[in-house]
Subunit: 245 residues, 2 copies
DNA sequence: CAAATAGTGTCTCTCAGACATTATCTG
DNA sequence: CAGATAATGTCTGAGAGACACTATTTG
């Protein structure tokens, strides 16, 4: 990475940065937010944990999203996740091998739907609670920052959208959905406001079924299949963090 | 680009996609939104217009933002613009030379502040009104899509932020700021609501000066220097386009 | 004075927040 | 019945929209 190649700006350089994609795969486990992590089997950072990621295969991937979708499918078996592009990070220091770029996506996977499968170079794969990163377990490369960035973006997004429905199983109660909002935002939401807002949006289909515990049964809802995104006009105000400036 | 190289996923491939950055540089000219465009002097697309862009120089750029900042400085002489990462596009077809990735940034430049300078491979450089793309003049590569994407993002952002102040000269009236909002959104905004909103945010510093034409003079404001971003709690509702779904 | 644009007063409406209240289940 | 959670009733307040109105300049 120290070649002194003379180049002009608008021609291709012989020294290209390494380029990869990473996918922050979120799901809910035991009422906690978790991400899929893989233990590296090769250097650098051998034995440490990372997010799911890999290189673009220019022969089989038609675009970057296809690469992300492929990696996600290889690890989870899920074909049509809620998958969005998050940030792109590129600098000289994030990979000890030299200047590298990663395009980060994040995916939301319904709770309890995944059969994990490790790849050729991964000796282990597991769900890790977001809460345990970076305290108990720090990720390799700049993956802690990548996770934090995606989480900030997700948090900001759910203040005015229904994307957390993609973390829910097929049938769920409004209280369960609210729990997911609260655990991502780490704030309590008033139940009446929340229900009024969600129901008014007409995103959810009430069903005939109820979930019964040792108390009043709760009505089960499901997402109307054709609705992927929905943006509320106003934010969940009480859950907004302070201004940047 | 047709080599059949065998590779595993987590090792680097010998065939890396080409990687570049593009910067959509917005400014206001004659009360219209304009972007900086450059005429290509080399193939492919020789003679056609493109956005400002170029390759990462791994020797001098510490990160991707530095590359974007450098390209912008080379073309406009501006060192500290309002510059944000927009989208990253990568696929097999956007560049006829093969699989390529571009990280797109957009910049907001105050009106009438720029001394343009062409680069070595650019035979011409000019501001182009967004309104004239793609009608009168279509851009090379997928730069029309890049522009559209950044514009959509900018539009969405200004519904709840004050970023358009970065398109204003040092001193400006509230009506002039409103004009800029209206021309980006292509919608009229109620003047009273707009003033109430902007003034309540306390982003702007009123000055002693006024702008006089043949009518009542308007007070001139300036952005408080320390405020780069500000997000309103609620959107400019009347200017919101329909739901996606 | 008229014309023009700057700037204000003020009413309505929507919707988030707060919180008290009622409903329906199990044991 | 009590305990638990589901679900509703209803008041307040912030702030967007609408639009009539007043203020200040030039000619």
């Amino acid at each position: 990475m120290n070649d002194k190649v003379k180049h002009t700006d608008e021609t291709r350089q012989s020294i290209l940065p390494g380029i990869s994609i990473d996918v922050v795969i979120f799901t809910i486990i035991d009422k906690k937010l978790a991400v899929l992590t893989i233990k590296r089997s090769i250097e650098p950072f051998k034995g440490q944990w990372t997010l799911v990621g890999g290189y673009v295969d220019t022969h089989q991937d038609s675009d970057l999203m296809a690469t992300a979708r492929r990696k996600l499918y290889e690890k989870t078996g899920i074909k049509t996740p809620y998958l969005v592009q998050s940030q792109t990070r590129g600098n000289a220091i994030r990979d000890p091998r030299g200047w590298s770029v990663t395009i980060v996506y994040y995916a939301l996977i319904p709770a309890n739907t995944v059969q994990l499968s490790a790849g050729v170079n991964a000796s282990d794969i597991t769900w890790t609670f977001v809460h345990d990163i970076p305290n108990k377990m720090s990720l390799a490369f700049d993956h802690n920052d990548i996770l934090t960035g995606s989480l900030v973006q997700l948090r900001s997004k759910i203040l005015s959208s229904i994307v957390p429905v993609h973390l829910m199983p097929d049938l769920f109660t409004l209280r369960e959905l609210q729990d997911v909002y609260e655990l991502i935002l780490n704030k309590k939401i008033d139940a009446k406001s929340f229900r009024r807002r969600i129901l008014a949006s007409e995103i959810l289909q009430p069903t005939e079924k109820k979930r019964t515990d040792n108390h009043r049964p709760a009505l089960l809802y499901q997402r109307k299949k054709h609705i992927i995104e929905y943006n509320f006009l106003r934010h969940l105000e009480s859950a907004i963090p302070g201004q940047d400036s």
